[in-house]
Amino acid sequence: MPLITLILLFAFVQDAHAYIDPGTGSILISFLISIVITIIYYLKSIFYRSMGFFSSSKKSNNLDFTDQIVIYNEGNNYWHVFKPLVEALCKAGVHFNYLSSDKDDHCREIDSEYCNFLYLGDINKSIIMLNHIKAKIVVMTTPQLEILKLRKSRYVKHYCHLLHAPVDIHTYKKFAFDYFDSVMCTSQFQVDNLRYLESLRNREPKLLLETGCTYYDDFNISEEFCDDYVLVAPTWGDKSALLKHSKDIMNTLLSADFKVIFRPHPQSYISENDKMRDIENEFENHKNFIFDKEISNQSSLGKSRVMIADFSGIVWDYCFLYQRMPIVIDSDQKMYGYEGYDISTRNSIYEIINEIGKIVDEKDVGSIDEIINTVKTDKSAFSAIREKYLFNFQNAGPVAARQLLELNERI
């Protein structure tokens, strides 16, 4: 009966959890928006890809190092990473090419027939050229190959990433290593975490080499404090919990008669100049205060007894090289856009600092003076930790060169 059919129909409808947007029109708009977004997405892809392409289309591709080893350095600040490797290669008598985006790259000064230096131009130009380079192996410290503008050249057989510091990969941006064929690691925790990400993302397993931290090769470990300073060395930007609290911390320290060196990240002078000036104005007249603006950090690191820092690379150097106490200000920030977001375990720096330093929650920065006083330094702990966490301490350059040559032969 039609009536019963109607009732049934109506009863049936209640199971339908679909519903029409208000006025159906809203979904029409959603529909249009999705279409537009999809179109924009594709347009964007094309745009970003070709951004630099047209600007230097003249001679984008004459980097022909077929069957040769290429080392690429994006800037002079990474020279100290490559130097031990370059020297080892020269010593081993292997021909290689050293490409740089930095005109003043110290590699120029290397006087060796094996090292072929080439300046590519600024970073954007370099990337365009690198995207079409012909080579057997390319070694670089630049992450995110194939993710952003830097693409894999189809004429390169092997991409190798040289990790430039013993930091955990948590602090690298997303997909930093995914497209490299091999990674020269400094520490075991990097190996473990890279493997974890590989399985998470269903990537082909990479060749993970136990190399070590190359720039530690040239470093003379200084055992003595020059002075009794507390070094406050925040990193830059919003991520820095220390920068946020640095005024409070320094006030506390200064009023407790500590000597304080404030050494901001060089980028802070660019990004947070007002803040820097504010700090300078407030503390510059204090007799126990030093505002360190020098390029090299060696003097400050050397002068200090204790360093207060964020989770940045400097902490590793302070422990491994200077063998002094780092105090790290912890904050509960989410690692959006970083590899750390995807890794379930904590940054291994926690583990290390727990062994030889102190992690202070940002809530507790008020009692930083007392915390410093409780810190005890046991020299043997530092060497133990080096052994535990670093591959080939002060011998990484030759190892890297050997591994590279092995690769070269195998490919």
């Binding site: 009966m1 109506f10 409808v13 209640q14 679909a18 208000p22 979904i27 959603s30 941006k173």
Partner: protein, 850 residues
């Protein structure tokens, strides 16, 4: 191609709905509901598929949350791309999410194209919309429907955004865009959209309540809101109907408003059912509903077997559909009340275990009859009637208690002694619904009664007797409302005071007339057809026509009435007007308050009416000189009351068959008529109204319909011959008008073409209802009888002109259109002598049935 498929889908649904509702407005609303349901089903299927598909990408969607926090757009873009790659997700999969929307687009466009370009809605009014094909301009040229739609939209958007936790300007902008685009569009498309938006609002509200975990409260609020909402519309349609009757004199279809009320009621009921189903403890409720539905189905099947249109819903007359809907409505309302509302504490024992509430339906039925027939009752007889009908079951119950008290369960006693009489009392109504002829009614009565008793006893073991009583009361109450609406007996209008131009001319003529004033006999033979029609039906009436011709009757050919029912037709004729009269107004006119009566009395005529009481029932006064049977006076109410009681017991309730109700025989009635015809106290005016009468009103022609008519015609012809002989013997120089009052209704459904679409109606069907016989015997050849009467209502124009010897009256004519609707017959079926609608539109009436 696709467009064609969609448009024809709309066409099929729309035409079906239009054939069911016979209203374009309701069809649009129905269309909107059907399409919404269809879309919802489709979308739920698609959504289920999509959910399955999307569940594969849960990890991806989790990772995408991270991307929200990345502010570097370039990085973000490439990271997302990388994530897609990792999860082998293609960007265009996102477009799948809008598949539910894509599905809607063809419907959206089809609805727009179909409704905007649908020419059949030109000039179709619906409720407060003057013309569905135009903008509504309800309030000083402002279109209110789009504004209402926008409000619904905005509200719906509000609920939706709170459901989805999405605050977006989109929910304000989109309704405004729609307002902008649709503001000046035809009200048909706006009606469609408003309805569809209301449905989506309902669904959003439902989700809102679900999200906010207000199950118990939700049911109550939701259902109350729905109930209130639909009942408000019901109320508005009733109020509007009143207004329309008063102000627009009938341009609003009564049946439409009843129809609308029905459909709203059924929607209402469905809403209740639906809401009940949402309750937590479903099983017992559903059982109960199923139980009742089976009961309804049984009754329906019985009705349909009787009616030989098994399971053919569409063939049911409007009246039956109406009853059916109200029945189901009552059923569901009742079930709902049972679930939602605690029974009123009416548990005080009335007498011997009988609760007061058990007596309610017993009181309601007589009240129903009283309200339905105001002309039959005064206050005291109403009370007496109610008490009479109420006392019987109570006495019966007491008797049962005394003699069988211990053997019968209390419930069974109540059913047998109280509810059975109630159903019995309702038999005349049920009989009308079943629509069979009187002699079969007894069988129906017994069968229905038995089914009801058995079912009631059965169900009383399952549910408390109180519920059955409440249910029955609801059925009666709702039917009462429907009948009152339909009958229009609650209207209290009196005849219009306005005087027509003919009336003015007539009052201006010289009243000092010569002595030789001919008597005028206005002899109406109900449903008497003219020779063309008789030939068409195959009814041989030539003998009678020859007889009339031999007496020098002038035959007027192809005459029709402006109103196809007795009361309106005669009232218009006596007032020589095409003005619309309600039944009550018509009765006032007929009871001596007509132009013809006034004028004839003013020039010394004695005016006589020998009628069925039906024609003057419930009138305020009688202004003629003589009437038989005497109009009902207060003391006669008692007789009337017993008459009704008697007809209830007989299972009959035919108000146009009043002769049975008077306390005289047909012979006595004819004798009275002849007495006046034989009177020589000239000048005399006499209006009498007798057979053959039209077909029965069941909504279906009987196979013997024409034979029956022929039989009745034979009786009427004999009566007519004797009438004329009597007149000619005593008053040979009189004017004798012999006429039918409307067609014999022998074709189609033999009644008012309830389920016919306008374009299905042929000229034959129209003439069958409007065409009638007219012949006048003039005392001498004169210039006045040259006047060519084309409609019955003009018949008195030459007669008045002849009597007043005023030629100027001859300039008047009423050959306009049949402007009034009657029951299901639409207005303008005949326009200026031509068929006004349907297959034979434009054909002159004179060419129909040739």
């Amino acid at each position: 191609m696709l467009a064609k498929i969609f448009l024809s889908l709309f066409d099929v649904i729309f035409n079906f709905l239009h054939s069911v509702f016979s209203s374009y407005g309701l069809a649009i609303i129905g269309l909107s509901i059907v399409i919404s349901i269809l879309l919802n089903l489709l979308q739920s299927v698609v959504n289920r598929g999509l959910n399955g598909f999307n569940s594969k990408y849960t990890d991806l969607f989790d990772s995408m949350n991270e991307m929200e926090h990345i502010h570097n757009n370039v990085e973000k873009h490439f990271y997302i791309k990388e994530l897609y790659k990792i999860h082998s997700y293609k960007n265009y999969y996102k477009l799948l999410d809008i598949l539910p929307v894509l599905i809607q687009i063809p419907f959206f466009i089809a609805a727009y194209v179909y409704l905007v370009e649908n020419a059949s809605m030109n000039g179709e009014a619906f409720l407060f919309l003057r013309d569905l094909s135009l903008q509504d301009q309800m309030y000083f040229n402002i279109n209110l429907l789009p504004i209402f739609m926008t409000i619904v939209n905005l509200f719906s958007g509000m609920v939706y955004s709170s459901n989805e936790n999405r605050k977006s300007i989109q929910f304000v902008i989109v309704p405004l865009i729609f307002l902008f685009f649709l503001y000046d569009k035809p009200s048909s498309i706006l009606l469609y959209w408003t309805m569809s938006n209301m449905i989506s609002l309902g669904l959003n509200l439902r989700k809102f309540c679900k999200n906010n975990k207000l199950p118990r409260l939700t049911i109550q609020w939701n259902s109350l809101a729905l109930l209130a909402g639909s009942n408000i519309i019901l109320l508005i349609s009733i109020i509007y109907w009143f207004l329309a009757r008063r102000v627009l004199s009938g341009s609003f279809s009564v049946s439409l408003s009843v129809n609308l009320a029905n459909w709203l009621a059924i929607l209402n009921a469905l809403a209740i059912l639906y809401l009940m189903n949402r309750g937590t403890d479903k099983a017992p409720k559903i059982k109960r509903i199923v139980g009742f539905t089976v009961f309804v189905a049984l009754i329906l099947i019985f009705i349909q077997i009787q009616h030989r249109c098994f399971f053919d819903f569409c063939k049911l007359s409007a009246k039956k559909k109406e009853a059916l809907f109200f029945f189901v409505y009552a059923l569901l309302l009742f079930t709902y009340l049972m679930e939602q509302i605690r029974l009123p504490r009416l548990n005080k024992k009335f007498i011997a275990g009988l609760d007061i509430k058990h007596v309610i339906p017993v009181i309601l039925v007589p009240l129903y009859y009283v309200l339905l027939n105001p002309g039959y009752f005064d206050l005291s007889s109403s009370i007496a009637f109610i008490i009479l009908l109420t006392v019987v079951p109570i006495v019966l119950y007491l008797a049962f208690q005394i003699f069988l008290g211990e053997k019968l369960k209390r419930e069974t006693s109540i059913i047998l002694c109280v509810l059975t009489p109630v159903v019995f009392y309702l038999m005349p109504l049920i009989n009308q619904l079943v629509g069979v002829r009187a002699e079969e009614s007894f069988l129906n009565l017994i069968v229905i009664l038995l089914i009801t008793i058995c079912f009631s006893i059965y169900i009383s073991r399952k549910i408390r007797i109180d519920y059955i009583v409440i249910f029955l009361s609801l059925v009666i109450l709702i039917n009462m409302g429907a009948s009152l609406l339909d009958k229009g007996r609650i209207s209290t209008e009196t005849a219009s005071e306005e005087v027509s131009p003919i009336g003015q001319s007539l009052s201006a003529v010289d009243k000092s007339l010569p002595d030789e004033r001919p008597s005028v006999y206005f002899l109406i033979y109900d449903a008497y057809a003219d020779p063309d029609m008789m030939n068409h039906y195959g009814v041989d009436n030539d003998k009678q026509f020859d007889y009339l011709k031999s007496l020098d009757f002038r035959f007027y050919t192809d005459v029709y009435t402006l109103f196809p029912a007795s009361l309106g037709s005669i009232a218009k004729a006596l007032n020589m007007t095409d003005q619309f009269y309600t039944d009550r107004e018509s009765r006032e006119v007929i009871s001596g308050k007509s132009l013809v009566d006034d004028y004839l009395q003013s020039v010394g005529y004695e005016t006589n009416y020998v009628l069925k009481e039906y024609y003057v029932l419930g009138t305020s006064s009688f202004d003629g000189n003589y009437i038989f049977p005497e109009r009902v006076d207060t003391e006669n109410y008692q007789n009337r009351m017993f008459s009704i009681a008697k007809s209830i017991v007989l299972g009959e309730f035919k108000f146009d068959d009043e002769v049975k109700l008077g306390n005289f025989t047909k012979e006595e009635w004819i004798a009275k008529k002849r007495e006046i015809m034989a009177s020589t106290n000239a000048p005399t005016f006499l209006y009498t109204h007798t057979g053959p009468g039209h077909s029965q009103n069941s909504g279906k022609c009987l196979s013997t319909e024409i034979d029956d008519y022929y039989e009745r015609l034979d009786v009427a012809n004999k009566e007519m011959t004797e009438d004329i002989e009597t007149i000619l013997e005593h008053n040979p120089n009189s004017i004798i008008i012999i006429a039918g009052d409307h067609g014999p209704y022998l074709k189609g459904d033999c009644t008012s073409l309830r389920n016919y679409k306008a374009d299905e109606i042929s000229g034959d069907l129209i003439r069958d209802r409007f065409g009638m016989f007219l012949a006048i015997k003039w005392p001498e050849n004169n210039k006045y009888n040259d006047y060519d009467v084309a409609v019955l209502q003009e018949a008195f124009i030459p007669v008045m002109a002849y009597i007043s010897r005023d030629e100027s009256l001859l300039k008047y004519n009423l050959r306009g259109s049949c402007t009034d609707k009657y029951d299901s017959l639409p207005a303008k079926m005949i326009e200026a002598g031509n068929i006004g609608l349907g297959k034979d539109k434009g054909t002159p009436v004179s060419q129909i049935m040739k």
